[in-house]
Structures are given as structure tokens and as C-alpha cells.
Symmetry: C2
């Protein structure tokens, strides 16, 4: 146990927003409550920009009603940013923090944020300034290493799983009109979100019928063959794809096409993966294909939020403060799944060095041999993250 | 009171699906329960196609658990269709119904369905075959005449209103990265759904910042000026638009562009309204613009469903059966709002002749003078349709 360290605390949010990032903020506020070592809790506006610009929100002076609503408000209440610190920028950040006697820094973010936080922690060590730094993970992409999963993923996974069943019912009922549907989801370079769309699939006839993942090079001929086979068999086909699928050469699908990259005014022309695939399906199968692209709605939707995700995001914030007060620093709050059949998460400090510039992809055993569908092993991993009360939509008996 | 008419009943669903169309089906099943005049209740598979192909689902033999889940299952449980009867097709339909001694026909659908149903009713009258025909309205577009609103609209309106606040929070928090967002919604030729996106807007800074409606010819210069002004003032801008906006000449925005309508292989190229507008904003403002296009998710989402919409859709089905048993025929179940401050709907029979080939657009007093935002009058009209427990997302105090 290190000696008591007295000073101010700063908390920030960074990177893409989620439906539960404010739960982690609420967890930090809860952790700080009543702890005299922390003389003030300031929220940095728009991530590290708030520190650089001395732009803070006093989190101890917020009304009880706002604090109560905070955890149920999606997006980032402090404002977020993707600002990458220039070389040496961490020293500027540290100077600002020192000027305000800040001794605790909590950043809620992903991969890039972890890098920023690590640089700040190292700068403080170099200057022998005691600053306790804890990174609180956050990303819908679920692509951080050294943790079972990341807060934010469970909720977007629930959105993907449930809306795919719902929108799939639309396609099944309208198969005479619009038999092919694409649902384009997020996920950066990994297919965790797209994979989650299959979590409530029970039979072969249930949607989704095939998945297109960024990890798997897209082969157009094979894709069209498969869509055609599914339509022949079940009368309709629901494809869930990542917006970042690529071909074997690494080119984004629907991003650029030879001969049509510019309009007559020289404007670059981006079609998007789902629309491109719809067009190719229509040309080949001579049936209509439509696409849904929920975009930021998938990561902001509160009615689809996972209560498990909410609770874990909150506890990650609580643990960050608890550890820092005990002297722990330069760590990320890692999630470790307890062994056994019952789902339970333990929170463990992970050295921050292990996080930046690494990404976690879907492991092989989570995908079927043709890479077009997920396995039971994936379901065992991901289903508990969605929370309870999952819907089920029975069909009329014929 | 007409004499008792004994025979079978057929119910069908037609046109685009909604989150509550199965509530109307459940209402018909409930209405028929215990009524001996109706000897059987058959659901026609895929609308009128089921009648033409003798493809029925026996609705009296369904299990209690399936019937209980039915109303909470989106899409059309019987299957839907957009099949337009060819000239004389109504006689073929009638012949099929007569063969099975069908005396009651309930069709749940929109504009086009009303036309089909009317033709069948007229054919029966011509042949002096007593067939009681009631049309149960259904369309997310809310564009039917002679009714205060249509079942299905309240739920998609709730989806539009809430997700615009949610996704708007994302844009506000990420304004340094993605300051402009488009949300592309449905609505055919009317802007009822897009208008609903503004129902939870409280201040000028709240999203949406402008609306693009199919009723109002799109002017690109004026649009770009307005987006630029909003971004200058609030740092970000959320635009909600209909996928069917048109210019003054009636051309769909983003559908075809001169010089780039075909790729080198001769494929027609459709960009879509939101993507087109994003591109134009990026060229003009030199900032990133993104779009969300929830597509069929907006009409299938159960977590965003309006409980008011659910109840009304159910009661529309119940009334249809009740009226038909009393001898009422060739009507649609119309919704009439009771006068006074308290929201209440009375169900009234509307002559079916008044429905087909007419569309209802947003009236002038529901739009501000620049046609870019809705008025308080629209809020008074539409807010009760969303149901209770609307979320509110307070901001941290600075």
C-alpha cells in the first residue's frame, strides 16, 4: 500500500462513443465520492483537448438528477475526440496537469487512447511527478487485447443480434418483393459486431444467412454463388457485413471502382460496401436487393442496451478509482472471465504497455470452416454479454 | 341489424410491414373468438397470393403461446405482398373465396390494398354474393386519407424521434471528427416520418437541425447554406431526410447524376440521397459528413415500439370483426380523434371508396415558413402517438 496521495483528479472520454461510456464516467464519479484524497474531480471536455485547453467540467457540482440520468444517456457526456498527440505533446499535457495539481488521471477509451495515456504516464515518471494513471477500456469494436471483452461491445452486439432477427422477419415476409437484404455494421478491422448478428439464429432458415467479415478476404464470385443458393432454398437471403470488408489485395469493397472513381467534376465517388453488393446481386440474380445501414444508431441505441454491459462499464470506472487510490498506476482495467459455467467477470489490472498498436481479431474457432458463419463456441463466448430478456419471435404453425 | 351470416373468414396482410401489423391480426383473432357465425378463421399467406393459391394458415389451431407472442412480433406473420391484381383478378379472387364459403374478408394494408379490397367487394356485390369486407389500415407512411393517423406510424415515429436524439448526441460529442450527420428515413411521398424526428427537440441546439421532406422541392444551394450556418453556430449539424426527396423538376436526389449514371460495364449507378448530400457537404464545407440509414430496422424495431400504436392496431382488428358481424361492409376502420385536451381515438367506419389512389401530405401548418422544421401544431398532433416513457437526455452543467 502506497502512502496517501492528495490532489485533483481528471477524467476524460476519447474515441468513438458507445451506449455505456457514460456508465464508466458514472463509475468514476461514484468511486471518487467521499474520498478526501481527491480534492476535485474534473471532466476534460473533448478528451485530451480539454486538458490542453484547460476546458473542464466540475463533476462534483452536478445535480443529483443529472448524475442519475448520466448512465442512461448514450454518447460521451464530456465530449470525445480522436486527436492524436503530436510528438512531445504528452509533456504539454503533463505541464497542464501539474499546474492544477492533478494527481489522478482516468481516461475512458480504446486503442489510441491507451497510447496517449501511456505516453502521459511515462512523461510523468520521467519528471518524477507522481501521477496515477488508469485507462478504462471502451470500444464497440471489441478489438482490445488482454481483456475478455470491452465495455460497449455487449450493447452493440445486442443491437446486431436483435435487429437482425427483426429486420430478417421483414425480408422473409416480403420475399416476393425484396428477397435479398444486406445489413451493414461497424467494427473497424475485426468482425466482432457482424458475428454478433448471428447470436439469436436458431435454425438454418433464420437470419443471418451469411456473414462478411473484415478478417476474411471478400471473393465476389463465391459470395454471389452463396446468395443465389440461399435464395433458391429459402426464398430470401439476409447478409450481414462489415462496412470495412476488403478483397485479397486489401482494397475496400465499394470504396473505389475502376473507371468510375470520379464524376465529371473530379469528385471522388464512394459507393459503400452494402450498396455495391446490392447492385451486384441485382445484376446477377435479377431480384431486388436492399440494405440497412444503422450507422451511429447501432452504438447509441438505449432501448437495445445490454444491462450486463452497463453494469460492467460502471464497475470498470469504480475499479479504476479504487486501484489508483491504492497506488496502482499505468494499467488498464482488464476483464477476466471466471472459469466455470456461470458467467462472471473479475476486474484485473493489465500493464498499459500491452494495449496500444495491437488489435484482436475473431479467432478461428469462432467461425465455421467456410468463414461465412459463427460457431457454437462464439455463442458461448458472446451470448452472456447481451444481457437477459432476449426476444424470441415464434412463427405461426402451418 | 342484418341477419346472421354464417361462413368462413379470411384475413390477410399486405404492403410494407410494420412493428404492429401483427397486433391487428391478433385483434381479428380476438374478435372472432367464440363467435359461432364464423366457422373458421384462415390467414391468407402472402396477401392476396394466398387466396389465389389456396394457401392458408389455420388461425384457430395455433397454440396459446404463439398467439400471445404474435402481437409482439414485428413484420407480417402471414407474409405480405405488393402483388397488384390484374384487370379482372378480383373475380378470380372471389371465385376462390366462394368455393370455400368465405363470408368475411379482413385485409390489413395501405393504399394499394384498399384498392384491391374494394374491387373484391364490388365483384361480390355484382354477383349478389354476400361477402362482408373490412379494410384495416396499416402503413408507417401515415399517408392514408380519412383517418387521423394509421397504425404503424406511431412506432416508426417513436423510432425516428428517439434515435435522432440518440444519434445526435454522438454527432455533438464527436463534432471535431464528424460534425455533419444525415439520417435517411422512409415515408414514400410524404414527410410524416421525417417530421417525427423533431418531436423530442426542445431547443434550437437539439437535433435535428433541419429536415428535408418529399413534399418540399430540394434546393441544393439553400441546403448547403443552411448546413454551413448551423455548423458555424453550434459546431455540428444533424439533417434528417426522406430517401425520396426530389428537386423542383421531380428528379429523385442521388438517384441519377449526369455523366455518371453508368459504370464502364453499363450498370446503372444509384448513389442514394444521404450519400449524395454527404458528398456535397464535404466538398463545400471541407468537413466530414456521415449518414445513418436504418432502412427496414425503423419499421421492425420492437424496443422502440409505441404501446399506444400497439393498442390501437389491436383495437382496429377487433372493431373490423365486430362491425362485419353486425353487417357493416366495404369500409375501412378509420381513426377519429376525440375533441378536447385528452388524447382519445374513436373507431369509425369510412367508406372504402374514399381511400385508394389518394395520399395525405403534411399540412402547411405543421411546417415552419422555411419548410425546414416542424411546428408546435405538429407536436400536438403527433406526440401522443409515441406512447409514454419518452427518454430525456440531460447534459452536464458547465
Amino acid at each position: 500500500m502506497k502512502p496517501i496521495l492528495k490532489g485533483r483528479a481528471v477524467v476524460g472520454q476519447s474515441g468513438g462513443c458507445t451506449a455505456v461510456i457514460n456508465q464508466s464516467l458514472a463509475g468514476v464519479i461514484e468511486g471518487v465520492r467521499g474520498r478526501r484524497e481527491i480534492t476535485a474531480l474534473w471532466g476534460a471536455a473533448y478528451g485530451v483537448n480539454g486538458i490542453l485547453g484547460d476546458d473542464y467540467i466540475n463533476l462534483k457540482s452536478q445535480s443529483a438528477s443529472v448524475l442519475k440520468a448520466l448512465g442512461h444517456t448514450p454518447s460521451s457526456a464530456l465530449g470525445s475526440s480522436r486527436h492524436k498527440l503530436p510528438a512531445g505533446g504528452e509533456e504539454e499535457v503533463l505541464a497542464r496537469l501539474r499546474r492544477h495539481d492533478v494527481r489522478y488521471l482516468f481516461m475512458i477509451g480504446g486503442n489510441d487512447t491507451a497510447d496517449t495515456v501511456l505516453r502521459i504516464a511515462r512523461a510523468a515518471e520521467k519528471e518524477n511527478y507522481e501521477l496515477r494513471v488508469v485507462h478504462i477500456p471502451k470500444t464497440i469494436d471489441n478489438d482490445l487485447k488482454e481483456t475478455d471483452h470491452t465495455p460497449g461491445y455487449g450493447s452493440v452486439a445486442r443491437f446486431a443480434a436483435v435487429t437482425t432477427q427483426e429486420a430478417g422477419l421483414d425480408t422473409r415476409a416480403m420475399k416476393d418483393v425484396d428477397p435479398v437484404k444486406m445489413i451493414e455494421l461497424m467494427g473497424r478491422n475485426s468482425g466482432w459486431i457482424v458475428a454478433a448478428s448471428a447470436l439469436l439464429k436458431k435454425t438454418q432458415e433464420d437470419p443471418p444467412h451469411l456473414l462478411l467479415l473484415p478478417e476474411i478476404p471478400f471473393e465476389e464470385g463465391r459470395f454471389l454463388d452463396r446468395v443465389e443458393a440461399v435464395v433458391r432454398k429459402t426464398g430470401h437471403c439476409v447478409v450481414v457485413l462489415s462496412e470495412t470488408i476488403r478483397d485479397a489485395q486489401g482494397n475496400r469493397i465499394g470504396a473505389l471502382r475502376e473507371g468510375i472513381t470520379q464524376d465529371p467534376f473530379g469528385h471522388v465517388y464512394v459507393e459503400g460496401a452494402a450498396r455495391y453488393l446490392c447492385r451486384r446481386v441485382e445484376e446477377r440474380l435479377k431480384v431486388r436487393a436492399r440494405f440497412d445501414k444503422p450507422g451511429t444508431i447501432q452504438r447509441m441505441s438505449m432501448p437495445y442496451v445490454s444491462t450486463v454491459d452497463q453494469r460492467e462499464a460502471f464497475l470498470a470506472g469504480v475499479h479504476a478509482v479504487r486501484w489508483a487510490l491504492k497506488g496502482v498506476t499505468r494499467v488498464m482495467v482488464g476483464f477476466r472471465r471466471a472459469p466455470g459455467k456461470l458467467y462472471r467477470i473479475d476486474y484485473v489490472p493489465v500493464p498499459l504497455e500491452k494495449i496500444p498498436n495491437r488489435e484482436r481479431y475473431l479467432p478461428e474457432n469462432f467461425l465455421t470452416s467456410d468463414s461465412l458463419m459463427t460457431t457454437e463456441a462464439f455463442k458461448r463466448y458472446a451470448l452472456p454479454l447481451l444481457g437477459p430478456n432476449l426476444p424470441s419471435f415464434p412463427s405461426l404453425k402451418r
